[in-house]
Amino acid sequence: MTLAASSPGFLSPTGVEIAFLLVGVVTLGAAIVTVTTKQLVHAALWLVVALGGLAVEYLLLTAEFIAWVQVLIYVGSVVVLLLFGLMLTKAPIGRSPDADSGNRWAALTVAVASAATLIWVVVDAFRTTWIDLDAATAAAAGSDGSTAVTGASLFQSWVLPFEALSVLLLAALVGAIVLSRKAAAEGERPPRSQDKAPSGKDKAESDEIKAASGKDEAASGKEGAR
């Protein structure tokens, strides 16, 4: 892209970049603790830190609406659902030595190898790409803020996927109820699990389609390559 030539170097980071890096380090640290801690409930609580950190990153990237949706849905309800799940399956409180399975070294190898490969590819491709956040903010301010822009594009260009998403959420709702009821027919603990399954969907009101997302990522990949 033409912006590439004029992009500043990595040695003189802007304020936003420094903030992004600091929050990124916290987010990544919390994520790593989430997948390594031996205390199951602590894993869920560190997940809150990681997801909240990501919400801050969205704010720094000028995506306000996404940031608040992230806080509402992930921090507000997905983590609560996970905690419910931990309690309903009688997860041990305190350290459980068998939280990691025997293949953790293989897992570590796979993760490190894929991280190295992907970082190499991503850095090589986007080393010189520069996002002009000031221009993004100005453009959003010119049209009533980025939430207004998101809303307009969502209900103009993305209405069909949006409606398809509501059907999908309905299907998920019915599916979760069916799963819970079958277990109830066998005889244990119906009410709690029924409360819990629907709440997963309620909060999901926001939206969605998967096929479209695959297509779009392919599109951005193409842009990047150019």
Binding site: A50, T89, S101, A172, S206, D207, E223
Partner: protein
């Protein structure tokens, strides 16, 4: 801001989630790791949306719309996933994935009733390999 910062953070988060999915034993911890991977994808979508809306004059804001879609899908997924984990827990009394080995190939071990079903499967595999 350099696009490389969000992209690299997203890669690191994704690989952390990948490690979690492969290394964890408790099904709910695996679901948490899946959430981490989905969030890494969301960060990529948002970052590329900000970049492309200038560089490529993308007025659809596809990145942000798709992020919302992904978040909704993730919420549906976690609801269904936990319902399944709970159903498995009720039926088997455990949410430890390493112990759910009904469809595993037979090993010389205590699970004798697996052997009859697994033997034909192995035969199929040898056939396919040949």
């Amino acid at each position: 801001m350099h696009l490389a910062y969000p992209a690299v953070l997203s890669v690191l988060l994704f690989c952390t989630g990948l490690y979690g999915v492969l290394a964890r034993r408790n099904a709910i911890l695996v679901l948490m790791s899946v959430e981490l991977m989905l969030n890494a994808v969301n960060l990529n979508l948002v970052a590329f949306d900000v970049w492309l809306s200038q560089a490529a004059r993308d007025t659809l804001h596809s990145g942000q719309a798709l992020t919302l879609f992904t978040i909704a899908i993730a919420a549906a997924e976690i609801g269904i996933g936990l319902a399944i984990v709970l159903a498995v827990y009720r039926a088997r009394g455990t949410s430890d994935i390493d112990k759910l080995r009904d469809t595993a190939e037979a090993r010389p071990g205590p699970e004798d009733d697996d052997t009859e079903t697994a033997a034909p499967a192995m035969a199929d595999k040898t056939e396919a390999a040949a």
